[in-house]
């Protein structure tokens, strides 16, 4: 079993990362802040004005450590990749399957069933735990509506139809997402999903979490030798990691959305940690970003039971497991792609 490796998040502005022996050294204002052996980390995520020496980047590529550069506010800028690795035959099959309507439809339907089932888990849990505090009726109605959509997915004739179902379900889900906010209700109000730029605090948090998730899923896909750019549900578009976004779907509700909700509900973040720019874009301050990163990182260490491989694994490893299962399916070892169902 693969070991869950840590991710190094560098969010202090003006940091400089370099290689020394087999270690990564983080410097700030000429002071050494951290030195850690490369074998303990699986990825580096740099926020804003962070420099990396070219030798470190080469070294990371060689050791399969993914390096991503994000803007200070978490918008994806670039990631550094070494020589193309992995299996060319696998990648060729992936492209062929992505061109084939039937296999695209099958994979898309599995991915979306996983996502919708996990969406329901998030809602049903709130109904169960906080029935008195929330509008349980509205949540129940949405949860049942999504359940009906799940039933219709297997009968869909094309992947476009599945995309339509996904859209309907997302509308139902985001309509009631505000009910899942139990504490600080006046400070955090969610009305609709918006991005580029996010126009309220909840959207800013969601966008930030999705970027982090995308980094992790993308590097998992690259590790198993798949091309993260060619997806089944998400159409090809230059610069868009389609397959990473596909695999991410199952994890959005249970990992990203739930983390955002519990940060708000546990009052770990407050409205004070956000600021609004002239164009309406809402961004978080350094302290809030650090809280989110720390929570995400410790969440990845929690374990969960994976019903398909029948093993208890750290949440952070789920991305690798799903990427592996996808590779198995593309190779033809298993008939369908088994999405991850939260319990």
């Amino acid at each position: 079993m693969r070991k869950l490796l840590n991710t190094l998040y560098v969010s202090s502005q003006g940091s400089y990362l370099q290689k020394e022996g087999e270690t990564v050294v983080v410097e700030r204002e000429k002071q050494r802040v951290l030195q850690l052996p490369i074998h303990t980390i699986g990825g580096i995520v740099c926020f804003g004005n962070v420099l990396c020496s070219p030798f470190l980047l080469g070294f990371c590529a060689e050791r399969d450590v993914s390096v991503s550069f994000l803007s200070e506010h978490g918008r994806f800028l670039a990631s550094v990749r070494g020589p193309v690795s992995g299996n060319v035959l696998l990648r060729r099959r992936q492209y062929r399957m992505a061109d084939d309507d039937e296999s695209t439809r099958r994979i898309a339907s599995q991915v979306i069933s996983g996502k919708l089932a996990n969406c329901r888990i998030v809602m049903n849990r709130t109904i169960r735990d906080h029935a008195a505090k929330v509008d349980a009726l509205a949540l129940k109605a949405a949860s049942e509506a999504i359940d009906r959509i799940i039933d219709r997915i297997p009968r869909a004739k094309s992947s476009d139809e599945i995309r339509g179902f996904e859209g309907q379900a997302a509308a139902e889900y985001f309509k009631v997402l505000n009910h899942l906010i139990i504490e600080q209700k006046n400070d955090f109000i969610f009305t609709e999903r918006n991005r580029r730029p996010p126009l309220d605090e909840v959207n800013a948090l969601l966008s930030f979490m999705y970027t982090l998730l995308a980094h992790d899923v993308r590097s998992a896909l690259e590790t198993v030798g798949l091309d993260p750019a060619v997806g089944f549900l998400h159409r090809d578009r230059p610069g868009r990691p389609g397959l990473a976004l596909d695999i991410m779907e199952e994890f959005r509700p249970v990992i990203a959305d739930r983390l955002v909700l519990s940060l708000i509900n546990r009052r770990q973040i407050t409205k004070k940690g956000f600021s609004k720019a002239a164009n309406g874009a809402v961004t978080m301050d350094d302290a809030t970003r650090k809280t989110v990163l720390t929570e995400y990182q410790s969440r990845k260490q929690d374990t969960v039971y994976h019903p398909y491989i029948e093993e208890t694994v750290p949440i952070g490893l789920l991305f690798f497991i799903q990427a592996n299962l996808m590779a198995h399916h593309i190779r033809g070892d298993i008939d369908g792609y088994p999405p991850f169902f939260w319990r």
Binding site: N6, L8, Y9, E22, V33, L36, P37, L293, Y296
Partner: protein, 96 residues
């Protein structure tokens, strides 16, 4: 697993400072310096064999010494730190 490596290298002997530097360098590649001649290394068995080999090739076993303390996978409750130079947690969130 966590292995604590501590070493004594005779610096007054010929080649002593060189050996000291090499031992320290090899340890930094695998772990964290917690005191001048004490390193905490979180390694898997293969990496440990590698590190152990490297170290034992560097030292002069007539005058230098190495000590390994195997703390296992549940090392966190076996370590207590008091005073200056707190260490970072290799498995914990790394946000700088």
């Amino acid at each position: 697993m966590m292995v604590l490596v501590s070493y004594d290298v005779m610096v007054t002997s010929p080649g002593g400072p060189g050996r000291l530097r090499k031992v320290a360098k090899a340890c930094t590649n695998f772990g964290q310096r917690v005191q001048y001649s004490v390193f905490e290394c979180v390694v898997d068995p293969a990496q440990w064999v590698n590190l152990k080999n490297t170290l034992e090739k560097i030292i002069d076993d007539k005058i230098d010494s190495l000590r390994y303390y195997y703390l296992g996978a549940n090392y966190k409750r076996r370590i207590e730190h008091v005073g200056a130079k707190p260490s970072y947690d290799v498995d914990g969130p790394l946000v700088v």
